[in-house]
Structure formats: structure tokens, C-alpha cells
Symmetry: C2
Subunit: 323 residues, 2 copies
Amino acid sequence: MTKKSLITGGAGFIGSHLSRRLLDAGHEVTVMDNLFTGTKANIYDLLENPRFTFILHDVTQPFWGQFDEIYNLACPASPIHYQRNPVETIKTSFLGMMNVLELALKTKARVFHTSTSEIYGDPDVHPQPESYWGNVNTIGTRSCYDEGKRAAETLCADYYREYNVDVRMIRIFNTYGPNMHPQDGRVISNFIMQALRNKDITLYGDGLQTRSFQYVDDLVNAVLLFMALEPKKVKAFFAKQAMSVPVINVGNPGEYTIKQLAQETLRQLPECKSQLVYEALPKDDPKRRKPDIALAQALLGWTPEVPLREGLSRTIAYFRGVK
Amino acid sequence: MTKKSLITGGAGFIGSHLSRRLLDAGHEVTVMDNLFTGTKANIYDLLENPRFTFILHDVTQPFWGQFDEIYNLACPASPIHYQRNPVETIKTSFLGMMNVLELALKTKARVFHTSTSEIYGDPDVHPQPESYWGNVNTIGTRSCYDEGKRAAETLCADYYREYNVDVRMIRIFNTYGPNMHPQDGRVISNFIMQALRNKDITLYGDGLQTRSFQYVDDLVNAVLLFMALEPKKVKAFFAKQAMSVPVINVGNPGEYTIKQLAQETLRQLPECKSQLVYEALPKDDPKRRKPDIALAQALLGWTPEVPLREGLSRTIAYFRGVK
């Protein structure tokens, strides 16, 4: 059945992949984006598809439309972007979520919300299950994103419990792939761009902090599987986990140190002359984060499939085109 | 010098005490309240003071006015109230804060924000210093309050750092006294009302969880001292603590078990025939919470002065009048 889908932040990295997949499946897709970090280039090839619509709009302002599903992806997600205007970041997270949920309430749309592993902050439990409450500073320089995303989860939980809005949330762990913003300051885009330009590769701290890296196709698979489930099945599954709200971690539990990532990047670019250099660790930077994906596996029969080597190779190919 | 002060939530428990103290000091006081949990009875005696103005308004809607100071106290604060409409609770906390900060930005008003020990959640550090990040569930039934208040702190921090809004925050620990809502479900009002009506006194769990109880006059002293400080002094003090944002704990570190409180209440009401009864502990109820008030003592030269016995006696006298 053809669905009408709205994707807020659909011109961003993840949103553009999701839009393409929904169009490929035959659905009608409307992308709403303020183009603050998203870009028309990410969705350029979709513009002439008759089932595709682009709306230039900021989610912090109310909007209207009759959709079967709303995917809420609007929010700058990399520190370099979200710290540029912290007040706008937390407003986007909170007011955007509020506007999406209000519209869903009135139109009975199903809602998908992209939460984030950042709600776990600098975790003292490892790996992080969904039941972990997190360790987040309310007044630090990352708080505009972390606390904004935490409050958005709370809004989802309350609209779900109080008003029966059919909300599903995924806490997304580090994700990478084509259409990442080359200047988003995140480790994979940094390393590839530095290597492609033969600049030194910057590691923070000793480079031994670990990260999990999920290829974007794996994430989009999980999103589509989650949104395809019947509400009854969702409710029953989470009731069995003694969770009152549908939220799952989605990420790749494979752990790599930042240094390993740098080395693999250089291995794939044998012509590159970059050296590894070390700088001080930024404040509040999480030392280690790894998803516990047992719930996603049980609920969706999903598992990440793209190994880092392959995902990195596809991402490097993309960055070669935009550098 | 006479100041113009706006107090959001000024018809509530703490707001009504603060309004009275500011009027007594000769200032002009405007109370804004939607009367959801606040009540006209709390400010009835102020209405005929020519320096007092009451505005019936909800802080989630923008407002305007030229004030020297804005005290943001608007938010239902007891679980029984804030869980009645969780979506409104988190909106009040976030949108109210946003509206206050926007007004302050435009009018250069100094802002006081009432944060709360609830931002520490169910703490695993004891007592809690301001540097502790807390342990809070994003999707539980208390989250609408806890996460709303956390996000409000983040807003304050970002308006302070980005826009130089002169914000000061106090994380208020359990506070009691006259003008508490008799049906707010909090332990002191519960116990006194139950005892005055010769009903059984309900303890949750084994009654051995501890709380700190601060008499409202002690809190108001701290608020007024904090707001009287020169911005330069505030900035210098927190810079010395390596804190980028002015926030202090204010509470009474004296620790009592809930059972001791029940026993002291009964001791002060010798005519009462109530018995202690035990019920199951509500979900997410913090087991133990006690403020570290070293910063408040150093910054303000303040210390709580009213012992539990005396505060309880004044509160019982108030509740005799309203029961």
C-alpha cells in the first residue's frame, strides 16, 4: 500500500537515505528541511520524482499536512553544527518534536523519532541497554543537543502514554556513509577529508577511546522494519520488556578505537601521505560507547550487515566526489 | 532602590512567600500565574497593596513587560499535580523558561530560575554537589518534570553563555511551610493532613528512605541573597569553581527518615489518633537525597536556620486553618 510520508530533516545525511528508500518502495515522500545542515545536493536527484515534494520550513514553527507517517529527523547532530547556535539546537529538538506530535495527534499519523546514543552521555554502563538512564551534564556545551534529545524522548513517551500517539523511537549510535556533511567535524568525515587532502589526521586524547560505527543502510533497514510493525505487536513486545514506551538502540556493536579507524582509512588510501597527530580531548567527550542491540534484534529480526571496511570504502568513494 | 519584579508562578507555595518578602522590602511585584496549582488564597492579602499586580496568564504563552528581575517559579512541582497532565508539565517547564529568557534578553532583566534536586533523579552520589550530573529516566512517569527541569537548566546555561542573559539558578531541595497545597501529595503535607484528620499515616516502602526538609523562609533568604549579588561577583565566583553557569544547591542537609518525620508530626499533635501504615514504593521514587550546600554557603554566607521541629510547628499551625 502506498503511504504518504513526511520526513523532517529529510535533506540531511540520514533523511536523504530514508527518503530515497521510501520512494524506491513506491511511497509518496515529503521532505521538510530548513537547509541549516541539510542540503539540496543530498536530494537533488529526487526533485523530479512526481511522488516527491520538498518544503523549505523550520520545524520549530508549526505546520500542517495529512500524512500516514512522520519521520522526525530534524536537528543538527554534530557538535560543530549544534554548538554554533545552542539555543536554536535545543529549540529544534523540543519544539520540532512538539509540532510533530501535535500534528500526529490531530491526523493520527504514526511517528518515528530519531533519538540518539547521546542521551546516554558519558556512560558508566557498557554496552548501553535501553534501560540505562545515562550520564549527562545539564549545563555543559553539549547539553543543548543531549538534553534537547532527552526532553524530546520524554515528549514522545508522554504523547504515547497519554494521547495514544503511535510513536516509535530509535536511539541511533554513530552512523556514517555517503551524504555525511564533509565539514560536520565527526570522526569519519574528518579522517577521510583529511586523508583525501593529504593533511595530518587529528586524534583527540590518546586515540584509544572506542566508538561503534554503523553504516547508514543498516540504520535505514531498522527504521523501515520498525515502522512497518503493527501497533499491537509493538505494544505487546515492549510490555513484555516492562517498558512502557517503544524505544530501541540501533547501531553496530563492533568496537574500534579511533586510532584503528584512522589506520583503516589510511590503508584504503595508499596514495595518501597524511600522518597521525594528537590533540587534547574536548570537554564532556564520551570516552566509550557501544550499543546493546538485543532488543532491536528480538523485535525486528534485524542485525547490522555492512562491515566497517566496506562501508568506509563506499563512503570514501562518495567523499572523492565532493572534496 | 525599588525594583520591579515579575514572579511567574507567584500564587504558588514558594512564589507567594517570595512575593510577600519582595513587597515587604518595598519593591513592586507582579505575579503571573495560571492558577493551575497556585491559588488566589495564597496572595489574597497582597491584592490590595498598590505595589502589587496580579496577571492571570500561562507562561507557555509569550508575554511582555519591563521588569528589573524575573523569578521563574511557574511549574507544578508535586508528582500528584505534574503527572495529571505530563505534556502540559514539560511544556510549562520548557516553554515557560524560553518565554522568560526571551523577555529577559529583550529587556535586560535579571533572571532567577527555580531548578530542583529532581534533576539529580535517583542519585548514586551522596550528598549531591552541583557537579553531579544526575541519574534520570527519560521515559518514566516522572520524566515530564525531571527532564523538563533539566532542559530548562540547559536553556538558562545557553542564554547565559551565548546571549549574556544574567541568569541565576537554585536547585531547590525538599521545601515545606505554610501555603503548601494540602493535596499536593508531598510527604509533609500528607502527614500533617492525615494526622489532623485522625487518618492513618501512609509510609511508602519501609519508611527508611531519607529526605532533607528545608523550611521555606530559609529558601527565600537564599534566593534574595543570590539575586542581590553583582553580576561580576557571580561570574568571578563560578569561574573559580570551573563552572560556566551560576547554579547552586539550596536545601537543608539535615537528614531524616520518612518514618522520623511521621513520628515528629505525631509528637506535635498529641491529640491525634493516627497509626502508621505501609504501602508499596512508587516507581522511580528516589531512595535518598541530601544537598551539598558548600557553594551556597561560600557564595552567599547563607545557612539554613529553621530546625525541622520549629518549621513543622509553623506548618501545622497553617494547616489547622485550612483543613
